[in-house]
Amino acid sequence: MKAWKSALGAVVVGASMLSMAVMPNTARAADPLKMAWVYLGPPGDGGWTYAHDIGRKAVEKKLGDKVKTTFVENVPENADAERVIRDLAAKGNKIIFTTSFGYMDSTLKVAKSFPKTEFYHATGFKSAPNVTIYNSRMYEPAYLAGIIAGHVSKKGVLGFVASFPIPEVVRNIDAYTMGARTVNPKITTKVVWINSWFDPSKERQAAEALIGQGADVLLQNTDSSAVLQTAQDKGVYAFGWDSDMTAYAPKAHLASSIEVWGGYYTKVAEAALSGKPLKSTVWGGIKEGMNDLVSISSLVPDAAKKAAEAKKADIKAGKFAVFAGPIKGQDGSIKVAAGTSLDDKAIDSINWYVEGVEGQLPSAK
C-alpha cells in the first residue's frame, strides 16, 4: 500500500519515492562477524520490524564486539529488495537475515551469487544450500488469543484485520477462530484484507468496518497498533500483535501475541562464530521460546485466563497441537480427521478457512 500510494505521488510529481525510502543504518561495534538485517518497515513501527530489531539488539548485547550488525529499513518487497540484499552481501556481511515473506525470491537469487554468505529468510518456504528458513508459529499465541476472545465476546462475532492472503496469515485466522470455538462453538470470525503490512489509515478503516458489522473482539495480522486504538475508541476489545502493545490501548488490550527473535539470532551468530553455521530450518513456537502470549489484561475473566494458560502449558509440554484433528473446513466437511494432525508442510501451505470463518478466502495470486 505504501508503495502504491507513493506510486500515485510519483505519477503526480514524476519521480520515484521508493528508492529514497530506503535508508541504510549502521550500528557500531568492532570488526568481527558482520551480520545484516533487511527490514520491511521501520524499527519504530512498534510491531513486526520492532520485534526483529529487539532480536538484533539482543545479539549485540550478548556477543558485544564479536559481531557487527547492520540493518536496512523500509525495504519494499520488490526488485529493490534484491538490490539491497546484494549490496549487503557485497559489503562483506557473512550472515544476512531477510525478515519478510516477500523477500523470498530475491534472497534466493542473491544467495546464488554469494555462496559463502549465509542467508536466513523469515517465514518463507523455499530454501537453498546457503538459504535457511526460520519462522515462528504465531498461530499458537493466536489460538490462545482466540480462547480469550471466545470468553470475552458478547456478540459471538470476532473480527480479523488481515494483510495478504498467504498461508502465514490464513493459519492465524484459522487458529484464532478454532481457539474461540473451544469456548463458544457458534462464534464466527469476519475477515477484512487490506493488502498491506503497515498502513495505519487502512488498518483503522478495516477495524471500523468490522466493528460496524458487530465484531467485538479483534485481532490483526498487520504491523501497526491502529486496530487496538480503534477498538478502544469504539469500546470493543483487541489484541496486540508482534510486540507487547498494552500501553497503546489499556482499555481495549486483552493480551499480546509476541515474537521473540533474540534467542534464535544469537544462536545463529554463535554457530557461525564457532565455524559451524546453522543450516536446519527452524520453526519455533511457544515451546521453543520464539513467541508467546503475554500481558493478559485484568479485563480478561479468570476462567478465560486459566483456560488460555492451561492450553499454553499443554503446548509447551508438547501435549497439544493447534492443527490436530478433528478440524472442519468452512463448509463443515472434515479437513483434518480425528487422531491425525497437519504436518509442518501442510500448515505452511494452508489455504482454507476453518468452520466459523466467514467470507471467501481471496486467492494469493
Partner: protein
C-alpha cells in the same frame, strides 16, 4: 441498511479530514504559484511535534500549536530554498519529504509504544447527532474535524471574496504583472507556503493525537501524497478538494465494508478502487481543458526573481 451505512460514512469522514486540511494548505500555496511536494514530510514532523507535546504533559491546544509551528518551520526552510535561493521546487519539495520523514523517525524513537496521554475525542453535537446517517458521521467528529469544515469555508471565502485572496491568485497567475502592480510577490508566497506547512502540521496532529493516538514511524503512510494529488484532482478548487477527500476515504471504506459484510470481491480490485475512481474523475475533468486551465495557477512551480 442505514445501520450499516452510518459507520461506513463515519469511517470515510474520519479518513477524509486530514486529507482536507493538508490539501487546503497546499492549495493555498499552489494558488500563489509555489508547488511544495513536501506534504508527507511536514505532516510527519507535525504529527510527532503534537505527540511529543502531549507525551510531556502539554495540553491539546499546545499540541495543535506545536504541530502547526513544526510544519511551518519546515515549510519556511523550503520557502527559503525555493523563494530566496530560487532552487527547483520539485527537487526541494521531495527533499523536504525525505528530511521530514528522517527527522520524525529519528526524534520519534523514544515515543513508540504507548497511547497519547491526551487526545481529541469525538464530540457529537447536541440534537444534530440524532440526524439519521449524518448524525454519527458529520455531526460526531472531533474538534479538528469541525475545524476542517471551518477551514474549508475560510479558504473558499479567502480565495473568492477577499482582496488578499485576489492578490494571492494574481501572484499565482503572473508574478511579474502582480509585481508591477506593487504586490509583494515573495512575501505573499512565503506566507502561502508557511500556511501550507501549518496545515500539513495540523493534519499530522490529527493522525497522532486524534485518529491514531499514537506515534509510529511513517504514521501518515503516504497520505501526504494523496493530499497532494487531491489538489490537482480538484483542479485547485477548495470545495472539490473536500469532495475528493470524501470520495477517496469513502471508496476505501466501502471496499473494506464489502469485505466485512461478506461480499466476495477480489481484494486487489478493492485495493485499486480509490485509484480507479481517481483516474475516472481525472478523465472526466480533462475532457474539459478550459476548466483545468482556468483554475491552474499559470506560474505554478516557476521561480520568480523578485527585484524589490
Amino acid at each position: 441498511m442505514l445501520d450499516s451505512l452510518t459507520p461506513l460514512l463515519a469511517s470515510a469522514v474520519a479518513a477524509a479530514i486530514p486529507l482536507i486540511i493538508a490539501a487546503l494548505g497546499e492549495l493555498i500555496a499552489e494558488r500563489s504559484g509555489v508547488l511544495n511536494l513536501g506534504l508527507e514530510g511536514m505532516m510527519l514532523v507535525g504529527g510527532l511535534a503534537a505527540f511529543v507535546t502531549v507525551a510531556h504533559g502539554g495540553g491539546l491546544t499546545a499540541a495543535v500549536l506545536a504541530a502547526m509551528l513544526a510544519g511551518m518551520v519546515l515549510a519556511l526552510i523550503f520557502g527559503f530554498v525555493t523563494l530566496t535561493l530560487q532552487a527547483n521546487q520539485v527537487a526541494a519539495g521531495l527533499s523536504l519529504t525525505i528530511l521530514g520523514t528522517g527527522i520524525s523517525a529519528f526524534f520519534g524513537r523514544g515515543y513508540v509504544g504507548f497511547r497519547a496521554p491526551a487526545s481529541f475525542d469525538d464530540l457529537p453535537l447536541p440534537l444534530l447527532r440524532e440526524v439519521p446517517l449524518l448524525g454519527a458521521s458529520l455531526f460526531s467528529m472531533n474538534l479538528l474535524g469541525y475545524a476542517a469544515v471551518v477551514l474549508l469555508g475560510a479558504v473558499i471565502w479567502f480565495l473568492t471574496r477577499s482582496k488578499a485572496g485576489l492578490a494571492l491568485r494574481s501572484i499565482g497567475e503572473s508574478p511579474s504583472v502582480a509585481r508591477s502592480l506593487g504586490l509583494p510577490v515573495t512575501r505573499v508566497r512565503y506566507a502561502a507556503v508557511a500556511f501550507g506547512g501549518a496545515m500539513s502540521g495540523l493534519a499530522g496532529c490529527y493522525y497522532a493525537v486524534a485518529q491514531f493516538k499514537m506515534w509510529q514511524e511513517g504514521l501518515t503512510s503516504g497520505n501526504g501524497w494523496i493530499a497532494l494529488a487531491l489538489v490537482v484532482f480538484a483542479t485547485w478548487r477548495p470545495a472539490r478538494v473536500a469532495l475528493g477527500a470524501l470520495l477517496f476515504g469513502g471508496v476505501t471504506a466501502f471496499g473494506l465494508y464489502l469485505q466485512a459484510i461478506g461480499v466476495h470481491v477480489s481484494t486487489f480490485a478493492l485495493g485499486s478502487l480509490p485509484y480507479l475512481a481517481t483516474i475516472l474523475v481525472l478523465v472526466i475533468i480533462s475532457t474539459n481543458q478550459l476548466m483545468i486551465r482556468r483554475n491552474a495557477p499559470a506560474s505554478l512551480g516557476k521561480p520568480f526573481f523578485d527585484d524589490s
